[in-house]
């Protein structure tokens, strides 16, 4: 009934003591701000992981070796590795549901040169399945094939960025490109060009010109460059066919391969879908968010106590006003509502400022985390947590009611005679 008047009155009071109002709100601002920061960072990171993993393919299954749990030594011997024979067996056995097997080997970085022109590159030895597992889009020529791998050919697939830098508008297919490493120079024939995704922050490049893109060469060729040929693999990717239940397949793959590890005391095979990873990451992020959120909630309580304190001061300062209002016929409930509304307004303004602060900090924080973690690996996504904002607004109002009630009730119960006499 007096709501509008009470709101106007509360604003007039806040205006009269801006500094005090701000200091009172600070606790709420910091509390709500930190909650929103954490929640928005959490949801942004989740969204980033989700888009990144989805891009990599939710049908991807990571297969690898992990300690079997009963052992205490984690040395991996050559004999422990998953051999090519095992992988081929598995491919045959699950041919109906396997799209591809992707094994890759990153052997560091180098510089591609053509005359005086250069392009920075990360060198990856891959199998044909890499195209599927990492969603590589070939725009010219072809990708690395199984035959390339088998024969360890000196062929390469380069990015459109590198092709443009090195060869300009010339068709690079069939041309030779030199790869300079610290101690060696290798020559490859370009067989394909893929589209480089300018995702995220574009890696560590100090300028666009120095951007390092991937150069794909056959897996076996990468081993020759390294001068070391492994007897097997500690991990690789499998891509499930569309429509196949990736999680079920992962379980079956693990148990199939684990037949080879029955007698291995140290290692066993795991198979994990991207989806399962995503769930794990989400659970982890939710856990962190919950914990930090709980800490932030404590600052909200502290802020609420600050509001209560200032409201008690306000009630004391305005004892005469309260007495006058009562003499003019204000019921106790009217006085109570007046002070509760004032407390709510303080908390609500604090809450809104906190939300703005939290969104700002959350955006900065999540981009920093993504940059630190991913270097272009993670897609940057900022997600404004609408639910959290609504909850925060509701919660700050609730704080106002909760911490405003005691002072307001004190005001309402003042004896009008005493209050009028108060100096």
């Amino acid at each position: 009934m007096y709501l509008l008047e009470n709101i106007q009155l509360a604003f007039a009071g806040l205006k009269a003591g801006k500094m005090r109002a701000f200091l009172t709100m600070l606790g709420i601002i910091i509390g709500i701000g930190s909650v929103i920061t954490i929640v928005s960072m959490g949801s942004s990171l989740k969204a980033s992981f989700a888009t990144t993993l989805a891009e990599m393919g939710m049908n991807n299954i990571e297969v690898g070796l992990q300690p079997s749990g009963t052992s205490t030594t984690y040395w991996m011997e050559d004999s422990d590795l998953i051999t090519m024979e095992m992988i081929e067996d598995m491919q045959d056995r699950f041919a109906d549901r396997l799209e591809a097997v992707s094994i890759s080997n990153t052997i560091g970085s180098g510089q591609l040169k053509e005359g005086r022109k250069y392009a920075n590159a990360n060198i990856r030895g891959v199998t044909d399945g890499y195209k599927v597992s990492n969603s590589v889009t070939v725009i010219n020529g072809r990708f690395i094939t199984a035959r390339d791998v088998q024969a360890a050919k000196n062929v390469a697939v380069i990015s459109d960025f590198a092709a443009k830098k090195l060869f300009g508008n010339q068709n690079p297919l069939g041309l030779e490109v030199k790869l300079y490493q610290e101690t060696a120079i290798h020559t490859f024939t370009v067989v394909g060009v893929y589209k480089h995704n300018m995702s995220g922050f574009g890696g560590q490049a100090t300028s666009m010109d120095d951007l390092a893109t991937d150069i794909y060469i056959p897996l076996t060729t990468s081993y020759y460059i390294e001068g070391w040929i492994p007897t097997g693999y500690s991990w690789f990717y499998v891509v499930a066919k569309p429509g196949a239940d990736a999680r079920l397949l992962a379980d079956e793959l693990a148990s199939y391969l684990n037949r080879y590890y029955q007698n291995n005391p140290t290692w066993k095979v795991y198979a994990y879908t991207m989806e399962a990873y995503l769930d794990d990451i989400n659970a982890l992020l939710s856990g962190i968010a919950l914990f930090i959120g709980a800490v932030a909630a404590i600052s909200l309580v502290v802020g609420g106590i600050g509001v209560m304190n200032i409201m008690l001061v306000s009630v004391t300062e305005r004892t005469r006003e309260i007495g006058t209002r009562k003499a003019l016929g204000a019921r106790n409930s009217a006085i109570r509502i007046q002070f509760i509304v004032e407390a709510i307004i303080i908390c609500l303004i604090g809450g809104v400022l906190g939300i703005l602060l939290g969104i700002g900090l959350g955006a900065v924080g999540s981009s920093l985390v993504i940059r630190a973690m991913g270097e272009g690996v993670l897609k940057s996504t900022f997600d404004i947590p609408v639910t959290a904002i609504l909850v925060a607004v509701g919660f700050s109002m609730a704080i106002g009611v909760f911490f405003g009630f005691y002072p307001a009730n004190k005001a309402a119960k003042l004896d009008p005679i005493e209050a009028l006499r108060y100096e």
Binding site: Y2, R325, A327, R331
Partner: protein
């Protein structure tokens, strides 16, 4: 015969009841006030004036005795009922004005109507009228700290009149004002009494102001010790014991 606005019989007010410091402030006050009267209650400090005013204004309840305000017995009324009674039947005018700070003159006058539940339009309309009436029509948007003492008191009178109360209860309304502005305030009371027939109770220790009223009740040590009428010499009060029973029970107007 005019209506009785106030009917008080043997009102006693005690404090610290049941303790060794029990204090009896009012020792059996009886008084009747009729509609349209302009009455003053005088007495030195400590005589019980304020306590009596609080009881008349239903800010406080008598320990013993009965008090009927416009025929309603205030004893046993709930706090909310007393609030409503103050809101509609009593108009307080204080010595220190007690305007709500940071609130315009207009909003101050609207306040009692707000508590009475009038619509915004009705409130503003009536508040403007009242401020015009006390000659403050050109300062409605001013805040209390932008007004002089006399102006504040005029706003306070307008506020007291907001819900057209049965009684204006003025406690030393000129106490904080200089003679000239005090005169202006008294003139407003006279005008309200004369033109609108407003019942006014003036509580003061100033015999000169009291002499302007129709009837003067003198309070000493919690009892009425005298009563005089308009036209009587203000300094010669009729002794209470000449009354048959209590205050001015036989007064007619």
């Amino acid at each position: 015969m005019a209506n009785k606005i106030i009917e008080m019989k043997n009102v006693v007010k005690k404090y610290y009841i049941g303790t060794p410091n029990e204090l009896t402030i009012l020792k059996g006050i009886s008084m009747d006030v009729y509609e349209g009267e302009f009455l003053s209650i005088v007495g030195a400090s400590g005589s019980g004036k304020s306590t009596l005013m609080n009881i008349i204004g239903v800010l406080d309840r008598p320990t013993e005795g009965t008090y009927l305000l416009s025929g309603e017995n205030v004893a046993g009324m709930s706090e909310n009922a007393l609030s409503d009674l103050r809101n509609r039947r009593i108009g307080f005018v204080f010595q220190t004005f007690n305007l709500i700070p940071r609130t315009t003159a207009l909003k101050n006058v609207e306040l009692p109507m707000l508590y009475a539940g009038y619509s915004r339009r009705e409130r503003t309309h009536r508040a403007m009228e009242l401020l015009e009436m006390v000659g403050m029509g050109d300062r409605v948007k001013h805040l209390p700290n932008e007004l002089s003492g006399g102006q504040k008191q005029r706003v306070a009178i307008a506020r007291a009149m907001a819900n057209n109360p049965d009684i204006l209860l003025a406690d030393e309304p000129t106490g904080a004002l200089d003679t000239q502005t005090g005169r202006m305030v008294m003139d407003i009371f006279h005008k309200l009494n004369r033109e609108q027939g407003k019942t006014i109770i003036l509580i003061t220790h100033n015999p000169e102001l009291a002499a302007e009223t129709h009837r003067i009740l003198t309070l000493r040590d919690g009892q009425f010790v005298g009563e005089s009428r308009s036209g009587d010499d203000a300094k010669e009060f009729m002794p209470l014991w000449e009354q048959e029973e209590g205050g001015c029970g036989t007064c007619t107007y």
